[in-house]
Symmetry: D2
Subunit: 384 residues, 4 copies
């Protein structure tokens, strides 16, 4: 039984990395907050002490829970009575290993961004640490969280496609088509730097997502690859484009393509799996549908409404209200919050803030009443 047995309320969470200018840290915080299950209470948000403190203050962390380095944070939080029970590691790849180990050794659960580490050697060491620790280690291969991906996995396991024959998976982007790392992009800088990213460029950054997703859905991992890596960006040493053929022990064959230099693509992550009886197809940019085909039948477009329990177990809103519905809803709240905060001081809402209000409400009711009146008079044109 852990020292947290009996605790109530949200799980106390710390964060390593994710200070100002970071992208994935903010994503982790929103994801952690969405269901009210986690509360961020501590952080070592940057390797630059000043930035770490500023970022902590901006997030509303107590000053004494804002640390300059993860090691100090691990030590102190492990001793605090209301110390963190879990930590999110959202640093560049080369800074995954050491913090993960530090927290795992102290029995603090780790939620780590992918890839697990920068090198295979580190990964193997960390795997041993995790085994010894008793604490959980979760890796945010977030695409495996999509309801339709859960459904796909269950369908493959249930025999929908029959015996696996083929896998086509790709994750392609274009943000490194231009030399972004020479134009001041922090994100591009560390991702094209072998010292911080490890041996894989696009491979490590997005290829691993594609690879994990294929394995997650098919339940099989390739036993061999034949790969061809390119560095199209001038001066790049890491791959920014990679193609690999895949061989599976079962006899299945496949291909994986990842690229960060493919113009016209934002985040085109597409998985297609083929068996001897059927196939499944999913695309991250339209994640609410799954194309499911079986020999001799018309393909079906599944949604959460028809894809079975695996798809609905994790849904927050009904089928047909896709993805983004919650964010759009939240935007209304956010705009309202901005206006409320301004109202505290008797100020007008900041420029650009807008949310539907009384006028919209009146107009809506007038519309309903006019329609009803028009219909009652056989479609007579009725003023609003």
């Amino acid at each position: 039984m852990s020292r947290f047995a009996g605790r109530e309320g949200p799980i106390r969470l710390g964060m390593v990395g994710g200070g100002k200018d970071a992208f994935i840290g903010a994503v982790h915080r929103i994801a952690a907050r969405m269901d009210g299950e986690f509360q961020l209470v501590a952080g070592a948000l940057s390797s630059t002490p000043e930035k770490a403190r500023e970022s902590g203050a901006a997030l509303g962390l107590a000053a004494d829970r804002t640390y300059d380095d993860f090691e100090a944070m691990a030590k102190r939080e492990a001793r605090l009575k209301d110390g963190i029970e879990a930590v999110a590691i959202v640093t560049p790849n080369h800074m995954h290993f050491a913090p993960s180990r530090a927290f795992l050794r102290r029995g603090i659960h780790v939620i780590c961004d992918k890839p697990m580490t920068a090198t295979g050697a580190e990964a193997r060491k960390l795997a041993k640490e995790a085994e010894k620790s008793g604490a959980l280690f979760a890796l945010t291969h977030n695409y495996s969280g999509y309801p339709m991906i859960r459904a796909a996995r269950e369908m493959v396991a249930g025999g929908f496609i029959g015996a696996l024959r083929g896998v086509q998976v790709e994750y392609v982007q274009d943000w490194l088509a231009a030399p972004a790392e020479q134009l001041g992009s922090k994100q591009a800088e560390w991702r094209t730097d072998p010292a911080r990213s490890g041996a894989g460029g696009a491979l490590g950054d997005i290829g691993t997502h594609a690879f994990q997703l294929a394995a997650f859905v098919t339940g099989e991992a390739p036993e061999a690859v034949s790969a061809d890596l390119s560095s199209f960006g001038a001066g790049r040493t890491l791959d920014d484009d990679a193609r690999a053929l895949l061989r599976y022990a079962s006899g299945a064959r496949g291909a994986l393509w990842c690229s960060q230099v493919a113009p016209g693509n934002e985040n085109r992550l597409v998985l297609r799996v083929y068996g001897d009886r059927g196939s499944l197809e999913w695309a991250q940019e339209t994640p609410e549908t799954l194309r499911a085909a079986q020999l001799g039948e018309a393909p079906r477009i599944l949604t959460r409404a028809t894809a079975g329990e695996a798809a609905t177990r994790l849904q927050r809103i009904p089928p047909g209200h896709p993805e983004g519905y919650l964010e759009a809803f939240a935007n209304i709240y956010a705009e309202t919050a901005a206006a409320i905060r301004a109202a505290r001081d008797g100020a007008a809402a900041p420029a650009g803030v807008m949310f539907p209000g009384v006028a919209d409400g009146l107009m809506g009711l007038r519309f309903v009443e006019a329609c009803v009146a028009s219909a009652r008079r056989d479609g007579k044109w009725t003023a609003l």
Copy 2:
């Protein structure tokens, strides 16, 4: 200057309605929580006292902030030093008016689900209350929160389509094609009941969304309608299917269709606006893109990356990671949270809980290294 001037931290929020079995209440809570701007601290969550208390406890509200009726809540919260600054009204339509008035009269901001009230008479009264109150009134026409809808509005205002000529808007569903209200659906019961919904059935429930969205984007509201309403469901008195032709003062023409009995549709909300120079098209089920056409040019598929500032002002994640990305991410957190809570008591994670972990991490690194090795040896097949 309000009594909340100088307050720090999230805005304290109350909720009327939204107890167990409610759909939209949970959506409001997630939306309110997403950006950390609101904290739910009080509620009159049900008109059944017992259910109100149970629901309050389940949401972690203090017992003395869990009220049996909204009137009591409004009175007491208005006097508390740390009382709520805003309230979300998420009851059926006929219960929008009274609570909205009660809180507005006490200077508490109201965030109300749509339609504003059940009748036009109530709406007009409430509009007057809002005007007197000084408190804000926000109506959750949530579709106007979508980034691409904001972009569409800005583009119309900026002359992209030229002078408005046509509007085609529809919001169609199929969940009332079968007589759901006779089969135990609470949602269907009140929506088909004139006493609780008002004069409009599908019109009030989803037609108002379509109507508001068209007005929001075009900046024009029709001056007259010619409508035809049907009640296809046996025993229904309210419309479950409605079509209206629209006339605008500017000379533009349009059509609106809403239906809850159109098989094969989940939430097909589609808006198309046409001017003398161009057109825009948006669909809620694929909300991340906006089709933008101008005479003599190939249509463009805009995303947040290319739709201008109005689209990016409210985004939380980069273009190409649509909607739902955050939820998928949050699912990884939620699964981890379930495992963490189980771990507190030394228990295994509940059945079905899954999140990527060490094995995935190892596999990812092995994949990267094998690819790099294969590529170095000119594509030699390399074991994983």
Copy 3:
């Protein structure tokens, strides 16, 4: 038994209209030729004698089968031993009635472009002529020839959607958004001229297609309409944009929209039909698929492979080789023909003519052999 009993070979066909600059005449000729069923042998191709003769010569018609007016043609062809058995009428609307009557009265089958006539009065007269004549009268509502439309009709008749509740049909274009009739477009001139088009502008030109298609598929025609017509183009008296609500005797409801001033649309003809059990959806711009949904099931995307016999009865090529496959194929033939004709005189092929040849063939074989060789050597990179 007709005077053509026992005749062999293609059906001899005449044409009224369809001279130079005409659009639909060429379409009729290709359609007539496609299956080798018709051979064009006579024509009154223009009301301008000189143009009629030039056009006849260009099409390879004998000089004595090229007529200055349709009346002369009808008289003479009816007496010739190898006279035409059928005639295609491809003139503007106001010139449908007289030629149709002239040929019908002489027992010559008529294939007439739509709409049947310019006015309802003419249509009723012509209907009587057709009844008396014994000759056939076919109207080229060509959209009812699509395989998937045939399938849709059969599915509705077979109960797939249940009892009809709703029809949404639209046919929208943008080629009249600008005042094309003032810019020299012959097509636009007669279509916006009440004297040549009749009472309907967009309504007659494309609205009738939408209307016929809906009736063809549902097997029901509306019993009443409520319409709103607009003329957005400056100086236009005929509608260029029209919306109508539809009421069916069965209780079903519908809406039709046709427009020639909707920017961003080429030929967006979309039909959706809804019953109490299911729905069907088809779009002319992607005519090879039919979306078919039933309550409680995932929608299916039908193609000719899965849509039943009605869809395959008229197909020329296998499913998945859509539409246009034949034209692409024919383009290879056309390019080759141009080169062959040039070769007759020892000349080079005209500029721009291209077709795959020997080099492509060699390359293809090299590719196959290199792939086989590479695979045999375990994926060794193999030169082409």
Copy 4:
């Protein structure tokens, strides 16, 4: 100058193969007929003499122009005054070489189905024959005939995508997922037989199409491949599924996948090409559009209306009337023809034959008039 100099009318065409039960022969005949450029006058339509004669009669060939073998046909036709000027070779792969040579040697133009021959050795020999012959050799890589493919080629040549970096091409089907060759399919029999198909199975049949298309559009052919071939069908010796990585001399990289065992695919031929500035994407199943993207701009969906002259040079109908429009049109003609032939003998049209007629015409006009009347009376419901 050839012996055909000065000839008028369609080009006289012969055919080798394409008798009963053949698929591609009929396609060639329709394509040859579509523009009236060719007239089929001779054939050696089958290697079985009886079948050859029956097939010839069915196609209306004169008895003395129906040959039992291609050799006899080549000899005699070369001597006839009105002999064929061109021949279409539509036999299985292993029967491409000998007939092609026989006709080329006699100065008769050859239009040959792909692949050029069954083996590379034959291909090289034939290339020499073609060089010597003076007659033309056209290979029906028909996909290169699509208007949007022509546009794509021109755009790449014009610099739209910049320097080529990546090519992704695939052609996948599912008709051999089941062992069709053991179930009586003639098409499957010869395609899975190395003696008749050559070294490539799916590779030769469809992989060569994908390969040619990529080369046609990019203007570059790979210099090396790394391939992996599989034979999933029990008892198959030829590949039914193949993946290859591609390397170009320019530094570009690519991947090709062809499969005939991928459930859920009919003829999924998709080409994507990426440069350092932009990308193009085309799919055969929706051939009328071309997705064109450039860095920093929203992708455009090009059609023939906006893709430039290369796309319109070969079009027969206006943009937005896709592919299949002509076939649908032709279906109306074909149905009418069936009725006309029946009418010759006073018989009713065969069962199932249908074409729009008088009733449709009347209905259309009634619709127009009712709409106009309704609109004039402000949308009054007006009976049809």
